[in-house]
């Protein structure tokens, strides 16, 4: 990071302004998240820092919003719905997305670019348009307002992430490994599960994580496709903001941030581990 001794004045000025710009970007990204954490411990039902909080008076802090979250049946129902929907949608996305990526990486597949573009479109098309489209389509086939409908909708949103991350991993995949496997007598299915799958695991895991977060954070599509029975955490937060402005939202947000950081860390550890197994970094 240091400047070389031969740096000119111009380069020095640029170097320090670069550091300042980076700092500002990080502040801009992180400050809103960092503010909600202390606010979620607010003893009052306000969204602002009270004078007591600013003078670090212990009485100005409390866990009552967390208590509300864990006792209020509305929140508990929402949490339970999210937990039921996100993992299933993730599993579907991972399975279908990985298969699609493996298939589309083979050069003999006709129209592979066009197919890839269609599969990735949920990521590019504005969410509200996808949501409205899904609403009309799912109503016709009786999926609107059902658990399965929400799971399928979220899986469709998650698939592009899996396809992109798995395709990226496949670029570095050595085709002679599958040939070697076939040569030793392994059929295509065994070759996929024993050779290809373990080696593209980092991509599958990252894709799965994105798919999970997408489903867990998603509010637009679930509002259209779901009914009261599929009210997820983001949906409940949205209602909370609009109708009662309860700082419980801040407590939930803090919990979600903690869960996200935990997930990211776990996934990064898993990814490094399988990269080491792949022989890409010294073990």
């Amino acid at each position: 990071m240091g400047l070389p001794p031969y740096a000119t004045t111009g380069q020095k000025i640029w170097h320090y302004s670069y550091l300042v710009i980076c700092g500002l970007i990080f502040f801009f990204l992180i400050a809103p998240i960092l503010t909600i954490i202390p606010l979620s411990f607010n003893a009052e039902n306000f969204f602002t820092f009270t004078p007591g909080m600013l003078s670090f008076d212990p009485d100005a802090y409390s866990l009552k919003h967390y208590e509300d979250f864990f006792t209020n049946p509305n929140w508990q129902q929402a949490l339970w719905n999210s937990v039921k929907i996100a993992p299933v949608a993730t599993l579907l996305s991972v399975a279908l997305g990985t298969l699609a990526a493996v298939g589309l990486s083979q050069s003999h597949v006709p129209f592979r670019r066009a197919i890839m573009a269609i599969m990735i479109s949920p990521m590019i098309v504005p969410l509200i348009i996808s949501a409205a489209g899904m609403y009309f389509f799912y109503s016709r086939i009786g999926l609107q307002g059902t658990y399965l409908g929400v799971v399928l909708a979220h899986a469709a949103l998650g698939i592009p992430f899996v396809i992109i991350t798995v395709t990226a991993t496949l670029v570095g995949f050595d085709r002679s490994l599958t040939r070697a496997s076939a040569n030793m007598g392994a059929g295509p299915v065994r070759t996929f599960f024993r050779i290809q799958m373990p080696l593209i695991m980092p991509g599958v895991i990252s894709g799965g994580l994105f798919a999970f977060i997408t489903s867990f954070d998603e509010v637009v599509v679930v509002l259209f496709v779901g009914s009261a029975g599929q009210k997820t955490l983001p949906w409940q937060m949205f209602i909370g903001l609009r109708e009662q402005i309860s700082p419980t939202i801040l407590a939930v947000a803090t919990l979600l941030v903690v869960i996200s950081i935990g997930l990211l860390t776990t996934v990064e550890i898993l990814r490094r581990r399988s990269e080491r197994l792949r022989g890409m970094s010294p073990g």
Binding site: D174, R179, A180, M184, G185, A186, S274, M280, G283
Partner: protein
């Protein structure tokens, strides 16, 4: 020496053609039969079709026309994983997420061989390539030469009768390559397996093989034992591809069955063996190996000799390498052994050179 009898052929290519785009043929009418236990090398420059032939035999490419037979059975429509052929890949293709022992266990697990039997076979295969202590390592922890030994052990561990090798030593340094060349040849003969070996390195082909098939332009230019190939090349491509070679342009002046007289562009005449020239007056490329040329020869009164001027004398230790101007060309090389009585020529010196007529071959121009 392996049998060339087609009745006993183990691997056969019959009129095999291959085209990737439906227009140009990469392999044109390949006919080849390989005997059981034979070590056959496919040698040729890149793009000559040798690797394509190997891939068709392994089943990774399909033949556009013709029939490929293994042990008498047609295998064109058998997928690669049912052919039971061992293969060593150019980049080793070891599974990076498995240890060496797991890599070797893979083909055995596929064949549903029990654990104790498996471990016995793995130990034996690793000992064969002197890697007995490396079972627990991962491929990334091994050097290139060690990885190649493991790849070899993995190709042999399930005891296939036919093993294919696709430039397996290409990425290794010279000394290691020579050691492994020797080891692979010895293993192949000890185990009695049939090997089809692809390389573009002619030294490798000559030292390892029972027979060498020289590929160029999608065809086998010559299929012969190494000594035959080196000493009696059938056309000018083979003559120039295998070993170092001097060539001179000329025309056939006299043709009497087993010998001919070639008139060079300089007007001088030399004796040669006609190989693939048929008429007096044909253009020809005569080829002479640098070590078969004699300086100031004593070949009898009827022999033709050429005038030459020494351009460069290079001392190489075991041999002297002399560059001469002969018949208007200044790239004529003569190699002489470093003997106590050997004359060391000096640049500018005028000498006469000659050779036995049977060492000089008149080939297609």
């Amino acid at each position: 020496m392996a049998s060339t009898n087609t009745a006993k052929a183990f691997v056969e290519f019959e009129r095999v053609q291959k085209s990737y785009d439906g227009e140009t043929l990469v392999v044109k009418d390949l006919n080849l039969s390989i005997g059981k236990g034979e070590f056959l090398t496919m040698l040729g420059p890149s793009g000559s079709g040798k690797t394509t032939c190997l891939m068709m035999l392994a089943g990774f490419e399909t033949a556009t026309h013709g029939e490929i037979r293994l042990d008498g059975k047609e295998i064109n429509n058998i997928p690669p994983h049912k052919r039971g052929i061992g293969m060593v890949f150019q980049n080793y293709a070891l599974f990076p997420h498995m240890t060496v022992a797991e890599n070797l266990a893979f083909p055995l697990e596929v064949r549903k061989i029990g654990k104790s039997e498996r471990e016995k076979k793995i130990a034996r295969a690793l000992d064969m390539v002197q890697m007995g202590d490396f079972g627990g390592r991962r491929p990334a922890q091994l050097s290139g030469g060690q990885q190649q030994r493991i790849a070899l052990a993995r190709a042999l561990v399930f005891e296939p009768e036919l093993v294919l090798m696709d430039e397996p030593l290409g990425a290794l340094d010279k000394q290691l390559r020579e050691t492994l060349q020797f080891e692979i040849t010895k293993l192949a003969h000890d185990l009695g397996i049939t090997v089809v070996y692809v390389t573009h390195d002619q030294t490798e082909a000559l030292t390892m093989s029972d027979r060498v098939a020289v590929f160029d332009d999608g065809r086998i230019q010559q299929l012969a034992a190494p000594d035959e190939l080196y000493e009696r090349p059938q056309n000018s491509f083979v003559a120039q591809f295998i070993g170092e070679n001097n060539t001179l342009d000329g025309r056939i002046k006299e043709l009497t069955g087993t010998t001919c007289v070639v008139e060079l562009e300089s007007g001088e005449e030399i004796d040669a063996v006609p190989v693939n020239v048929s008429n007096v007056g044909d253009r020809t490329l005569v080829s002479i190996r640098p070590e078969r040329v004699e300086i100031n020869p004593d070949l009898g009164p009827t022999a033709h000799t050429l005038n030459a001027e020494v351009l460069e004398f290079i001392y190489m230790g075991d041999v002297f390498r002399t560059r001469l101007r002969v018949a208007g060309r200044d790239d004529f090389i003569v190699k002489t052994r470093n003997r106590a009585d050997q004359v060391r020529l000096t640049p500018g010196q005028k000498v006469k050179i000659g050779w036995l007529p049977e060492d000089c071959r008149a080939l297609d121009a």
